[in-house]
Symmetry: none
Subunit: 157 residues, 2 copies
DNA sequence: TTGACTTTGACCTTATTTGACCAAAGAAAT
DNA sequence: ATTTCTTTGGTCAAATAAGGTCAAAGTCAA
């Protein structure tokens, strides 16, 4: 951890300032332009994106190659207090059984992060999609499914 | 947000706007005229049709050469007797690759079943959760995930 | 002096744009 | 009826324009 600002820190701050201006809808940049602005190699930009704008940190990055290529950066506004989403990611982990999943749903329901209707739907989708899987595999699929559905509901529009 | 747009993107938007106006019945264009309008070579139009108006994305394109030649474009409504969710289940099936998934998302976006933000989130979750899986397995997980997320959004509260 | 973080560069993948050449369908001429 | 333009649209591959990956080399604090 450097005390003085590294190039990476500067680029990070620059992008975050742009995001502040951009508001909703996200921000679009060209990798080469940004690299020229900071007089660095283009792959430096990828490093900044990977280390500072990861989904764990609440960002989504999409990009396209070729003519008309771009990099888009979206900041997920935490509309629910504290880091509920990172807590969910932590709690679910690699694999989760039905009992743990149920307990998690109940907690989210209790705290009104989830509507009753959505909880019912999630239960039935979890059951439907894992019923024919071998238990060990079912746990991993359940984790992926539950994590994605919850994050989608909590962050989506 | 000022979208970066390639020529292809502009032509795509132009055709989609024409289709919106045209309603049922489809739309007829002259390849050469369109090419002149956008000051490009005629084969550019074929490229746009191939990449943006594929049957995977829900379009039908027919054409005829010679004097009085034309290109007709029809947009298909996603339709299933049991409703959009059944249509989605059927379309996704047991396994789906990223290209098919993207086509489905674009199609739902085109028909306003999905918000832009939700589409971005879904894309990112699909990528994140399948990136370390072997391709064959990734396809099945992607199918499960995409199906669940879409149904959750379309049926939920 | 080691370990984590950063910086660089060589090489790779993908999307778009262009142009030369091909094929079909109607129109005109024989 | 058949052949020969003329008018369209189709195909494909090369050139161009992005962005991605990965590992080696460099830095810096503990």
């Amino acid at each position: 951890m450097a005390f003085i600002s590294s190039l990476t820190d500067h680029i990070e701050r620059y992008i975050k300032a742009l995001l502040d201006q951009a508001g909703q809808g996200g921000l679009e940049i060209r990798r080469t332009e940004l690299a020229e602005l900071f007089e660095c190699v283009p792959s430096q930009i990828n490093y900044v994106l990977k280390t500072r704008f990861s989904s764990e940190r609440g960002y989504i990055v999409e990009s396209r190659r070729g003519g008309g290529g771009y990099i888009r950066i979206f900041r997920l506004e935490p509309q629910h207090p504290q880091g509920i989403c990172s807590w969910i990611r932590q709690t679910i982990g690699e694999s989760i059984d039905m009992g743990e999943a149920e307990a998690l749903l109940v907690r989210l329901l209790d705290h009104n992060y989830l509507s009753r209707k959505d909880a019912v739907l999630i239960r039935s989708l979890l059951a439907e999609e894992t019923e024919q899987l071998k238990p060990a595999h079912a746990g991993r699929v359940r984790a992926i499914l539950l994590r994605s559905m919850l994050i989608l509901l909590l962050q989506g529009s």
